[in-house]
């Protein structure tokens, strides 16, 4: 019930943001749609993932809308077996990153509102055609970001006592429990069979399995963040990571996308675009960061060590999104004041932390991520000493690149309404 309430509130917020993006002032700093979407949502998302778990998927307003629509239209098909890869989601993730830069989404309330509408349309299209959570598992780019980042979260849904599961013959965690009325009726819609579930990949924190288990043997637990990245066990609904090149690509695109997204805000990216043209410049950057480098990494290093890149990638996302959240946390107050007709001036000094104060936090996130990647890289199995050394050097190089990008003065150039 708490989850339903959270979903309803998030839907209300999404409706308001779409409305304000369309009808409100078309200046990004004066519009709550651009502000909440690009500053507060992204910042809070990564912090909640760091300190808790995948709670943003838990309260997803798109799933709430889909569940309402499924009361009237029932899907008839299963997501085809040959489509059971992350490629569509990776393509959408890259498309969102590209559109963000090419269309200056951050500067346009209307475009941001349209972007917010898109996943609602997509989930209705996919999940009213295909059963279970096909959209969440195979299509949603936000979900993939959350799945990958939540491997570094301190919380996980898992079984309490594996022996209880060995005696179970009814598998309610997967099939659902007909005795339940609200939660637990469906079971895991992402095909995560709890006794074989490893970590947070593909887990939306819907707690269906927790509610469905007749033995109360599934619970939210704390764990060591990132440890799951070393597991070579076959994972329920996923298989072995080393046999999922799509998932490894997703992890590399997640990490290199973090660097690219930060690089898009500083002078070198604009200088390249000034030299070769805006669109060709973006194509070159995206080609290098999201295709050439991931391809090189996959060719040069054993697959078992690839997931250990994630702490560094997550550290860069945290540094970037944390910067915007911490420096602009209360910039929404003057906008709300103007909306409700309050004359009082809100002091500029109270709107957020200074860049100087935030800089150590940014560096700390990147160094923490680097440390995580180095430690996990050292612990990964089946990697020769030479490859391991090469991996360490790669991690240090990428962290150095991230620190260099973060040290450059921010420079946002885009279409202003």
């Amino acid at each position: 019930m708490i989850r339903l309430l959270g979903q309803a509130l998030m839907l209300a917020l999404a409706c308001f943001l779409i409305y304000h993006g369309i009808t409100g002032p078309q200046f990004a700093p004066k519009n709550l749609t651009t502000l909440f979407t690009w500053v507060h949502y992204r910042g809070l998302l990564v912090l909640v993932l760091l300190f808790a778990g995948n709670y943003f998927c838990s309260v997803c307003p798109m799933v709430f809308t889909r569940n309402l629509a499924r009361r009237f239209i029932s899907p008839r098909f299963h997501w085809p077996a040959r489509w059971q890869k992350k490629w569509p989601a990776i393509a959408l993730f890259v498309a969102v990153l590209f559109a963000y830069e090419a269309l200056d989404l951050w500067a346009s309330p209307l475009a941001t509102a349209m972007l917010l509408l898109t996943p609602f349309a997509l989930i209705l299209l996919v999940d009213l055609t295909f059963k279970k959570a096909a959209f969440c598992k195979w299509v949603c780019p936000i979900g993939q970001f959350n799945f990958v980042a939540s491997t570094l979260s301190p919380q996980e849904v898992r079984v309490k006592d594996p022996e209880v599961c060995q005696r179970c013959t009814t598998y309610e965690c997967l099939r659902g429990n007909a005795q339940r009325t609200v939660a637990g009726r469906l079971g895991c819609e992402l095909d995560l069979f709890l006794p074989q579930k490893v970590g947070n990949l593909d887990c939306t924190f819907c707690f269906e399995c927790v509610a469905a288990c007749p033995y109360q043997n599934v619970a939210l637990s704390t764990r060591t963040p990132g440890a799951e990245l070393l597991s070579a066990r076959p994972r329920a609904g996923i298989g072995r990571l080393v046999r999922r090149p799509d998932l490894l690509w997703l992890m590399l695109v997640f990490t290199m996308g973090a660097l690219l997204n930060a690089l898009g805000m500083v002078a070198p990216a604009y200088q390249l675009q000034e030299r070769v043209g805006e669109l060709p410049g973006l194509v070159i950057l995206f080609g290098i960061f999201l295709f050439v480098i991931p391809f090189f990494i996959l060719r040069q290093f054993p697959r078992a060590i690839i997931p250990t890149i994630l702490p560094l990638g997550f550290g860069v996302w945290l540094a970037h999104y944390g910067f915007h959240l911490f420096t602009g946390a209360l910039t929404f107050i003057p906008i709300v004041q103007a909306m409700v007709g309050v004359e009082a001036d809100f002091p500029v000094a109270w709107m957020g932390l200074s860049e100087r104060a935030v800089a150590p936090i940014e560096v700390g996130f990147i160094l923490l991520g680097l440390l995580g990647s180095l430690v996990l890289g050292l612990k990964s199995h089946g990697v020769s000493p030479g490859k391991r050394l090469g991996w360490m050097l790669l991690m240090l190089t990428l962290a150095g690149l991230a620190l260099w990008v973060m040290s450059l003065p921010m420079e946002m150039r885009g279409v202003v309404a």
Partner: protein, 124 residues
Amino acid sequence: MRRSLTLIPLLVLALLSCTPKEEGKAEIRVAWVSEPTPPALAPTLFRITLTDAQGVPVEVPTIALEANMAHPGMVPVLAEATSVGNGQYEARLTPTMAGSWIMFLKIPLPSGTVAKEFTFEVNR
């Protein structure tokens, strides 16, 4: 309970959809130049000229300026442009970073405050 949950989005939307404050309707034309041109990451003098629809200079004591980065969530730079006569106003402010900026002006006319804006690019 589920049905009432579905009403929450509509209720919140209704509560939040406040009407923006009515601003003055007078037609004001804004022209501006800066020193240096284009504005740079240094103290920059903005000379702003206000005229009405007939081209007659508009005289007010001061104009409130708020310079914002185009990116949301950046702390604005505030300044006050003071009249130097003949509908011209001057203010000095220092942009905090290079990139695309929007200058918001609040012009206190006797008939009500008029909001205007112009955009500018700050060089490295």
